[in-house]
């Protein structure tokens, strides 16, 4: 049963009761939420996700109210680990951030890279770079143009096969990017604006139904792009060597160091199968045009 098939009221009851079983890509989590105001946004943003009842869950999550006049809430994993208290008003943002946190703190069977990932015909583009580089914005725009969403933040890579597994969860956009994407992707459905997070105001874009449906299909890394946004830049792609591409990915990985030789082997193999470029850009439209050129070029293997 999809979440959209439940009434918001029924969803609310489940969330406050035993919780819902949610599958997102390879992972299953049981999610209980004691804050009724989160029910409607979840109903909207997770509309196309299926409820599941699994005996084994990777993560058991509770978001609960921690009362007092300060109106704070808490994200708890396995009834045991909790993130520090946060203002109740940003709970939806913390749910999304927290689900990713569960993965990169607890799963090291995959190489995990901080990157936005989208795919066309199962060929994936990884957008990686520091906060503010525009990767989620670009990712959202690509998805708006029909690319399949894998993730706005977390590339989940099997180190042996190099398959990238989707999570296909809502895309988190911040500040100006929200309006920019509303303009750029008129059909996009958004969750509420959340003010006062560490990134300022954020809002989440619902993943397209098709991305959610295909979240059991991996993709193969084909392009690695390091976006650099600045209003003063002239838009253009600059090739990046495999060596530097590899180190850039390693720098942006959550568990590269932990996985040691496995990660070294995996990443060196991965960059060998990709075209890697830095994308200087000052406008979304220009950036998209460059990416279109990059990804529809007759595929040439990178220079040896």
């Amino acid at each position: 049963m999809r979440i959209r098939e439940l009434t918001p009221r029924a969803l609310n009851e489940r969330l406050r009761g035993e919780g819902i079983g949610l599958r997102w890509g390879p992972f299953v989590s049981q999610i209980r939420i004691e804050l009724p105001e989160l029910t409607e946004p979840i109903h909207r943003l997770y509309a196309d996700f299926s409820l599941c009842e699994e005996q084994f869950r990777d993560f058991r999550i509770t978001i609960r109210h921690r009362g007092g006049r300060a109106q704070r809430a808490e994200f708890v994993l396995d009834n045991c680990y909790a993130l520090p208290l946060f203002p109740r008003a940003i709970a939806l943002g913390m749910l999304e951030w927290g689900l990713n946190w569960c993965v990169y703190n607890n799963i090291h069977s995959y190489l995990l890279i901080h990157a936005a990932v989208a795919a066309r015909d199962d060929r994936a583009i990884l957008l990686t770079g520091p906060p503010g580089s525009g990767k989620s914005t670009l990712c959202a725009a690509l998805v708006g143009r029909g690319w399949r969403l894998l993730s706005d933040e977390l590339a989940v890579i099997d180190p042996r096969t190099l398959d990238i597994w989707p999570l296909a969860r809502p895309i988190c956009l911040k500040e100006e990017a929200i309006d920019l994407i509303r303009e750029n992707v008129p059909a996009a459905v958004f969750g509420p604006a959340i003010h006062g997070t560490a990134k300022g105001t954020i809002a989440h874009m619902r993943p397209p139904a098709e991305s959610v449906e295909r979240s059991n299909r991996p993709a193969r890394a084909t392009w690695i792009v390091l976006p650099r946004y600045d209003p003063g830049f002239r838009t253009g792609l600059e090739p990046v060597s495999s060596a530097r591409g590899m180190l850039s990915l390693a720098d942006n990985a959550f568990n590269y160091h932990l996985l040691g030789e496995t990660a070294f082997d995996a990443l060196s193999e991965l960059v060998g199968q990709c075209r890697i470029a830095r994308l200087y850009n000052s406008s979304l439209t220009d950036a998209l045009r460059e990416l279109e050129v990059l990804t529809t070029d007759a595929f040439r293997p990178p220079p040896q």
């Binding site: 060597s241 495999s242 060596a243 530097r244 590899m246 180190l247 390693a250 590269y256 160091h257 040691g260 030789e261 070294f264 060196s268 960059v271 060998g272 990178p302 220079p303 040896q304």
Partner: protein, 101 residues
């Protein structure tokens, strides 16, 4: 650093190399769990050290033979490179009368 010191890989270091072009080499030190991007000169120095402990003098000779550059130039650059390699845990000096490990 004395010119008579021998340079070698640190105990426990175990190196893996990847090279896609001549200028840049990525080396992984499995002992330290660390990954480094190094230039051609540093890579050549490190490969020689990995092949067996050697003195500064031997390295200079080796590198100037390899590159065709004169020994003074090589010597000047090598000092810095060895310092960096030491910082990165990729090489270390052993003075001739240090403890044997």
């Amino acid at each position: 650093m004395t010119p008579h010191a021998n340079w070698r890989l640190p105990a426990g270091a175990s190196l893996f190399w990847r090279q896609w072009d001549l200028e840049e080499t990525v080396v992984f030190n499995r002992g330290a769990g660390s990954t480094h991007l190094i230039d051609a000169f540093s890579a050549a120095s490190l490969r020689r050290i990995a092949a067996g402990p050697c003195s500064f003098g031997i390295l200079v000779d080796y590198l100037s033979d390899l590159s065709g550059a004169d020994e003074e130039q090589v010597g000047g650059r090598l000092g810095e490179v060895l310092d960096s390699l030491q910082q990165l845990g990729l090489a270390e000096p052993v003075s001739p009368c240090a403890f044997a490990s």
